[in-house]
Structure formats: structure tokens, C-alpha cells
């Protein structure tokens, strides 16, 4: 199987095919990092672009992310053996009172693929928990997601608490979700905003450097 064929399988959401393809690549002697960057991440970049262009929608994003995960799973033992070099650590979560997690989950998968060590705090995460996670994990960045106008105010609280605890300068904060805008992000003092998971991966990449 050629690299482009595997990329197509990921884009189509064929998890079993992707896993087989990655096994073949390994058998052919391709390096783990080359498979991740050259095939898995590259395919998800195409998926992210197609999503932003309105060519595909959330279900197609999800099955593609699942296929990419299936590919990563094949590589997992080798990654553990070699000790993967991460770009850094990212803490993500959906804010308090909000149970929407599609965007956050997609982001987690895409960040993992892109080489981040991801700590997912889940949904309905209290501001104090984000602060505790920053203390515990010392991440490069945190990503806050909210899908409701009633819950997005919690993002401001997280930023306030980080400031209060003297942690704000140690961590980048990116916000996203349907009601959130660039203007809102700036208003509450976040470092960044992303309208979708694909864009968020690019923004986090800037924080890595």
C-alpha cells in the first residue's frame, strides 16, 4: 500500500484499512515519525481543510479521526519503546456547566496526532480544576471549549483564577466553541481563539515554538 492510499483511507474514515496500511509501512521499514507526520497528520490536515471549506462535516471528521487513531494505535508500542518526543503538553476541557465535547474530542485526537501530550479533563470542568491541572501538569497551553452562551462566561473565570494564582504568564490559553469569537477571546484576555479543531492545532503549533 502506498502512503497516499493510506491517507485516502484515513480521509474516508476506514479504520481497519488504515491500521493495515500502517502495519505495511512499518514492515517496509518506514520510521515511526515519518508515518505519523507524513501520513497520519498529513491526512488529518486535509480533513481539517475540507471541514473548513464545507466539503465535509462533523461525522466525516469523526470517522477520519477514528481512522487516524487506529493508525496511531498500531504505532503505540513502538512509540512507548522509543520514548516519543512531544511538542509539549496541552490541557483541554469543556467548561463548567457544558457537556458538549465533539470539538474538544476532535481537538484532542488531532493534537495527539500532531505530537502533543494531551491531558483531557473532560466536560463540565470547574475553573479550579483547570488551575489545578496547570499546577500539576505544567502544560505549554490549555484549551477551553464552550458551546453555550450560558457557559462561556466560565472562560473568563478560568483566566481570572490563573492570574490570581500567578500562573497566567506560564501558560498560553486558547478558547473556542460556537458562541466564542476572536473578539470575545481578546476581551477576556485569552492568547488565542480557534473556530474549529483543525485551526486550533495550527494555533497550538505556534505556542510550541
Amino acid at each position: 500500500m502506498q502512503a497516499d492510499e493510506i491517507k485516502d483511507l484515513i480521509i474516508k474514515g476506514d479504520a481497519a484499512g488504515t491500521a493495515r496500511g500502517v502495519e505495511e509501512m512499518l514492515a517496509a521499514g518506514l520510521a515511526v515519525d515519518d508515518i505519523i507526520q507524513g501520513i497520519l497528520v498529513s491526512a488529518m490536515n486535509v480533513v481539517g481543510e475540507r471541514f473548513r471549506d464545507g466539503q465535509i462535516f462533523v461525522p466525516e471528521m469523526l470517522i477520519a479521526a477514528r481512522a487516524m487513531k487506529a493508525g496511531l494505535k498500531v504505532l503505540e508500542p513502538l512509540i512507548l519503546q522509543a520514548g516519543r518526543k512531544y511538542l509539549g503538553k496541552v490541557v483541554i476541557g469543556t467548561v463548567k456547566g457544558d457537556l458538549h465535547d465533539i470539538g474538544k474530542n476532535l481537538l484532542g485526537t488531532m493534537l495527539q496526532g500532531a505530537g502533543w501530550d494531551v491531558v483531557d479533563l473532560g466536560v463540565d470542568v470547574a475553573p479550579e480544576k483547570f488551575v489545578e491541572a496547570v499546577k500539576e501538569h505544567k502544560p505549554t497551553a490549555i484549551g477551553l471549549s464552550a458551546l453555550l452562551t450560558t457557559t462561556m462566561g466560565s472562560m473568563r473565570t478560568v483566566l481570572g483564577l490563573l492570574e490570581q494564582e500567578g500562573l497566567r504568564s506560564q501558560v498560553k490559553v486558547l478558547v473556542g466553541g460556537a458562541p466564542v469569537s476572536e473578539r470575545y477571546a481578546a476581551e477576556i484576555g485569552a492568547d488565542g481563539y480557534a473556530p474549529d479543531a483543525g485551526t486550533a492545532v495550527h494555533v497550538f503549533a505556534q505556542y510550541a515554538s
Binding site: G13, G54, I56, F57, V58, P59, E60, L62, I63, R66, G97, L99, H100, D101, I102, N105, V123, D124, L148, T149, T150, M152, G153, A178, P179, S181, R183, Y184, E187
Partner: protein, 336 residues
Amino acid sequence: MNSKERLIRRLAGKAVDRAPNCNLIMAFAPLYIGKPQSQFYLDYEVLVESNLRVAKDFDLDILGAISDPFREVFDFGGKVEFPEDDIPLCSDNLLKSYDDLPKLQIFDPYRSTRMRDRIKGIELYKREAGDEYPIMGWVEAPFAEAVDLRGMNEIMLDVYDSPDQVHQLLEICLEAEIRSAVAQIKAGADLIGMGDAAASLLGPDLFGVFAQPYEQRLVAAVHEAGALARLHICGNTTAILNLMKLSGADIIDVDWKVDFKLACETYRGYAAACGNFDPVAVVQQGTPALIREAVWKCLDAGDANTLIMAGCEIPLSTPHENLKAIAEALRDYPRY
């Protein structure tokens, strides 16, 4: 001209004193009258009292029984939490496996808990203000209800992995929503709103298979029972605008990310477009001047039957002067 006359005339494209103010009010209402959020979701008297106050004080033209997406889930047997002063949460999916589908019993709205509470709310609206205001009942559209029962992530994968089971679930949801809608119409609802927010995450191909046909059947049942239908899908629905009109709904809500002029053109001859300024950037965070500009822009883009609302729910912490500014902008518009 009262609100009922205003809406009916506007929908027919007839002259009105101002376009109807059709904003969706939920969490804002209990806050406005100083009641805890939980009472709004659990006690129809609080829902009615708070919405009547908001409608009167801010010149809204529809009295809605919309509150949260979890009335049906609760009555199906799902676990819903009601924090004292926050919106309801449903953190545990009732339908963990399609093997459990046969156990999913369609509830009788009259013997249920939360749908019966909504029905009582509509009866109270009818007694208090039924001559003056149109009363809007509410149900989840079948796809949204399927998501509420099964989980968002799960359904989004199921449409590829288990389409037949998704259709079986949708049939159950459709039947529950038809029963709930008809009961509300019998109680006095003039129109039934149906929320299908999750469907905006589907592309046109899947929307046409899993959402639109079920919306269409629900709308047909609402019409047969003698009420109007309002379809509400928040999110960017640009890709499915054409399919949404096939629902047959009389009013189609348009969220702020959609080009309102395009929506009005798409629905011309089919339905009244209702929209569509940004609830956060314009209504919650904007100024009265920005709001006036946004409302007038929507009216300029629309037709003689176009209705006005923020793209989705009026946010909880909207300044009162901003909500008043919507009514003032509608009143002062010079080109009706």
C-alpha cells in the same frame, strides 16, 4: 394590533405596525424575575410568569414554552440534573446500546412529568394571555432527540456505522414528539417550535437521510393537528438551507452565521425566514446602536413576511437596555 394579530398578518405578508419580535427566551427569563434557574425548568408557573413579564417588558410577540432540550429525555427515563441556579444537565446517555432499543418506551405526555408540566404551562398561557399572544409549544425534532438519548459523539458515528438502528431510534423519537406536539396543540399552542440543533452538524447528504424526512413528518403532524410549525436549527446551516425548506415548516429560524438575504431568498414562497443577528457579539456584548443596525439590516434583507430574532437564545446576561433596543429598532424601522 396585538402580538397574535401581528404575527398572523406578518406571516401572510400583510401590513403590520412593526415586524414581530420572535426572540427565543430561556435562561434569561427566571433571572429577570429573580427566580432560581431550576424553578424555570421544573415549575410551569415560573416559566409562564417569567416569560409573560419578559414579553410585556421587552415587547416580545411570542409566548414560548421552550426551556431546555431534556424534557423528553427525562420522560423517556433519562437522568437529568437540575442545579439550583444553572441550566439542566444530562450527563449520562440513556441509550448506551441499540440492544436496549426495545426497552425505550414512548411516554404518554399526559402521564409524563416534564412534558405534562409543559402542557400545563401552555394551558396557563392560554388562560392568561391566549387572546393577545401567539402561544408556542416546543419539542425536540427527532434527530436532536436521538442525540439527546444516544449521545452526540455516538450518533455522529452511528450514522455511518449503524444507519438502520439510527432510523429505528428516529421512528421512536418521531412518535414521542408527535404525541407531545399534538398534546400541546390541544392545550392551546398556536404554533410548535421544533429544535434540531444537532442536525446542523450533518452535511446535506446525511441531513437529507436522517433529519429532514423526520422533520417533514413532524411538521405534517403539527399541521394536521391545526397549528403552525417553526423549525429551529442553530449553527451554520448554509449547506442545508434548501433541505430545511422541505420540512414544510411555516417559520424557519436562521442562525447568525448564515447570509440572511440568501436564507430569505431560499425560503421565499415556502416559509418565513426568522433571524438572524449574533446573540453574543450583537445582543449580549453590543450597544443599542449596533443592535439597531443589525435589526434593520435583517429587515432590509427580508420580505414582507420576514420575522426577526437573534440567531439563537437571548444570552442569560444580556443587558436589559440591549433587549429593549431590539424592540425599539423594530418599532422605528422606517420601511414597513
